[in-house]
């Protein structure tokens, strides 16, 4: 069967913060861009970000991008690439100001400037004391940002393909990326979107865990597409467990609560973070706080009937501050924890939240892979930005607010790189290989024809349970080894999924089966990379290797789908213009 082909200058997969920001760059350059999204753009998961976007505007006191850079390097436990980190922190004020110019409804100070709140791990003067760097719109920053970016795209007349699911990358024999295949959900029709440049902006795959702050749509589609095209996935062992997910429900409670003065208590009412992080206390970086909370629970000091959670106290802030700065949190706590947080503490537990790893890329947003002795050869025509990319800005642990900064900076950078590439490329699209897109059609045909196969939700549950039990906050060697075997064995079941729904019209069962393929690749990359990394760094905490090991493990993991092969590449400790921050002990 032949696929219909539609030609554009650029194809963007994903309409969250980074996809929308990149699209503006391409539209402004007068190029034809197609933005594909599984959901209407304002339903993308950027909408759920709460606490703010980090930028050293210095509106609340002295700040500099260099301090922001230091904090980000230290937050990454030195696994972040310092060229990319410098790039992000230098550009952050510019992209935030630009967002204000786009119409973002930021909170304001009395003098009319953007209000900024304190956040975990963000400091003045290279770690001395907490700084107010998080630019916010109450506790709905992601919502305000996503809507603002969408609105600007309405103005720019960007062409959206809403409720289209991308299936696979289309490449030629040299590995140059020529576009993607995608399925229109309403009709079941598959189309090949040809583009001179293709951006993956598909977000994270937090749904590999059974308890997650992530939306249902976060299934790692870009990662699956890359992996199937032979591109390795980088640093997938590093998953952020956010300290404050609502116990039982998983719904996120922003770190901004602690930024505004909220504190964590164990069952004895002790502010235990003072013991773990004497300077930054509750505003230490997220891996440190989550680990401290898990330790308190493990040692029997958890709160509640089953001693299984921690209490987030904020009633002392008073209803006025809560309603002004944290109105969404009050709503979430009421709905999902039956708690009025102006009176009582919110029960919270560390919950899977953010994927530090992703598709290996550089600070220009280009996808890079090892080839011919060069660890970072550019894959022609392919770009990645936002949570699905790995530049690597966040290394082994991301600081709060840096996800939104990453979206804006890397979305813009990727967009600019694509404009340059397309302009250098000439008017004509290269020819497509004869079998272009056939692998995608075969995937769909296999699913439709599968008889007596595996139930999609049952296999997904099994993947999620495996990840939760074998690859959580603390990682034990035996559990990791068993997890690797379990996840490997699940591959046979993933390959045999079947759906009862055979309709062509809005067949969401089929979409979930296709998403499962992507979720599975991410889960497999995570377990294999985690089992192999014999050290504790950032969010990766090994019970048999308690310390960071810079001699053997100051390097990025690269997992290849083919044979679950692991390779490594060096961390770039060399910034673009400033002196390197050499690895040292990480104390908050």
């Amino acid at each position: 069967m032949a696929l219909a082909v539609r030609k554009f200058d650029a194809v963007i997969v994903g309409a969250g913060g980074s996809g929308l920001r990149a699209a503006l760059e391409l539209s402004a350059a007068g190029l034809r861009v197609a933005v594909l999204s599984k959901v209407f753009p304002t339903r993308s998961h950027t909408v759920a970000a709460q606490g703010g976007v980090g930028a050293s505007l210095g509106n609340m006191g002295e700040d500099s991008w260099h301090w922001h850079m230091y904090d980000t390097v230290k937050g990454s436990d030195w696994l972040g690439d310092q060229d990319a980190i410098e790039h992000m922190c230098r550009m952050a004020p510019e992209v935030v100001i630009e967002l204000e110019h786009f119409g973002m409804p930021f909170d304001r100070n009395d003098n009319g400037t953007i209000y900024q709140r304190p956040f975990g791990g963000h400091t003045q003067n290279f770690g001395e004391r907490s700084v107010q760097r998080s630019c916010c719109a109450a506790d709905r920053t992601g919502h305000a940002m996503l809507h603002t970016l969408y609105q600007r795209n309405v103005l720019a007349k960007t062409q959206f393909f809403v409720e289209w699911m991308a299936l696979d990358l289309v490449c030629d024999a040299q590995g140059t990326v020529l576009g993607v295949t995608a399925l229109e959900m309403e009709t079941g029709e598959a189309v090949l979107f040809q583009g001179k440049a293709t951006l993956l902006a598909t977000g994270g795959a937090g749904r590999i865990f059974s308890s997650s702050t992530n939306a249902f749509i976060n299934t790692g589609d870009g990662l699956g597409m890359a992996a199937r095209a032979g591109i390795p996935l980088q640093d997938l062992e590093f998953w952020q467990f956010h300290p404050t997910g609502v116990a039982g429900a998983g719904v996120l409670i922003t770190e901004g609560v602690r930024g505004e003065g909220g504190i964590l208590l164990n069952k004895d009412g002790e502010r235990f973070m003072e013991r773990y992080a004497p300077t930054m206390k509750d505003l230490a970086s997220r891996d440190v706080v989550s680990r401290a909370m898990a330790t308190e629970i493990k040692e029997g000091r958890g709160a509640g009937e089953h001693a299984d959670h921690i209490l987030l106290k904020l009633d002392h802030l008073g209803p006025e501050v809560i309603d002004k700065r944290l109105p969404g949190i009050r709503e979430i706590a009421l709905k999902f924890a039956n708690v009025d947080c102006a009176k009582d503490p919110i029960p919270v537990v560390p919950t899977a939240h953010y994927q530090m790893g992703g598709i290996p890329s550089n600070f220009r947003g280009e996808v890079v892979v090892p080839a011919g002795g060069d660890p970072a050869t550019v894959v022609a025509g392919l770009y990645a930005a936002g949570e699905c990319g790995c530049a690597s800005i966040h290394g082994a642990n991301r600081l709060g607010t840096n996800s939104l900064t990453d979206l804006l900076v890397m979305g813009r950078s990727a967009g600019m790189s694509m404009v340059d590439f397309i302009r250098a490329h000439g008017a004509a699209h290269p020819g497509l290989p004869k079998d272009a897109g056939q692998a995608s059609l075969a995937r769909v045909a296999r699913l439709d024809a599968q008889a007596g196969g595996e139930d999609v939700s049952a296999v997904r549950d099994e993947i999620q349970r495996t990840m939760q039990a074998h690859c959580g906050v603390f990682r034990f060697p035996d559990l990791l080894r068993q997890g690797v075997e379990k996840i490997r064995a699940l591959g046979e079941r993933v390959a045999r999924t079947a759906v009862k729904d055979k309709s062509k019209v809005f067949n969401t069962a089929r979409i979930e089966a296709l998403e499962l393929d992507n979720l599975y690749e991410t889960a497999r990359a995570t377990l294999f990379s985690a089992e192999a990394r014999h050290e504790t760094r950032g969010a990766h905490d090994r019970e048999d290797f308690h310390a960071r090991d810079d001699v053997n493990w100051l390097k990025h993991s690269l997992w290849y789908r083919d044979g679950d092969r692991l390779a490594y590449k060096p961390v770039n400790l060399k910034p673009l213009t400033v002196e390197s921050f050499e690895p040292k002990a990480r104390v908050y």
């Binding site: 959901v39 999609v456 809005f506």
Partner: protein, 231 residues
């Protein structure tokens, strides 16, 4: 617990029908969406939209026991049985609980939902006082779920001509923004027997908004500005 869900697949059905599902409640079933996701794991042919499951993305708006709402923030304990679930009223049904929202988004786009300011931009952020910024509260939080517009009889009658509560709330969000320089053009655009004046203050929109917003109030403010500039 019993759920009575409207089903329709144009691929095989000539008309919509109701299907009953009986589901034993588990400990983790708090919200209606939890139950719907479990029903889907048993019957994968049931189609619905859902994403964030915390009331911020606006995907899972539907008609629940006669009232529009988001499944993910509707408590099961508050629902009478059988729980009758239908797609949002007034828009074409694509399948099961999924409606075609094109008209709804067309109206949203028609209000030019972006700040219009042709002045030269400063190097830093444009200044806005906290008092000016407060004017946007209760407006910018809209999640475009369409609960309001699809509960509005005026929108049911004229979805192609009446902007509807969501669109008008968003229109006022930009009128109220101290940075916007196009208030007059915006008012001109809305001063029309259909675009604004089909609102008859029935206030269904206020009743159903899952974010507690008040489109009727925003519409009143727009009318007030029109009167004020006329005198």
């Amino acid at each position: 617990m019993r759920f009575r869900i409207q089903r329709y697949d144009p691929d095989k059905d000539t008309r919509p029908y109701f299907q009953d599902y009986d589901l034993p409640m588990g400990q983790s079933d708090r919200m209606l969406l939890d139950a719907l996701v479990r029903i889907k794991s048993v019957d994968d042919t049931l189609s619905l939209r859902r994403s964030c499951r915390e009331g911020v993305c606006g995907s899972d708006a539907m008609n629940i026991n006669g009232k529009n709402g988001l499944a993910c923030v509707t408590r099961l304990a508050d629902l009478a049985e059988p729980v009758v679930i239908k797609p949002l009223p007034g828009l074409p049904v694509i399948r099961d609980l999924i409606v075609d929202m094109t008209l709804f988004f067309d109206q949203y786009h028609s209000v030019k939902p972006y700040v219009i300011d042709a002045r030269a931009l400063p190097e830093r952020e444009r200044l806005q006082s906290p008092q000016e910024r407060v004017e946007l509260d209760g407006l910018y939080e809209c999640i475009l779920c369409a609960c309001c517009s699809t509960s509005c009889p005026s929108f049911w009658w004229n979805p192609d001509k009446f902007v509807g509560p969501a669109g008008l709330l968003n229109a006022y969000r930009f009128i109220a923004d101290s940075r916007d320089q196009a208030v007059n053009e915006r008012l001109d655009d809305l001063e029309d027997p259909y675009r604004l004046f089909r609102c008859h203050t029935i206030m269904n929109c206020v009743d159903v908004c899952p974010k507690g917003l008040n489109p009727t109030h925003a519409i009143g403010k727009i009318k007030e500005l029109m009167v004020r500039r006329a005198v």
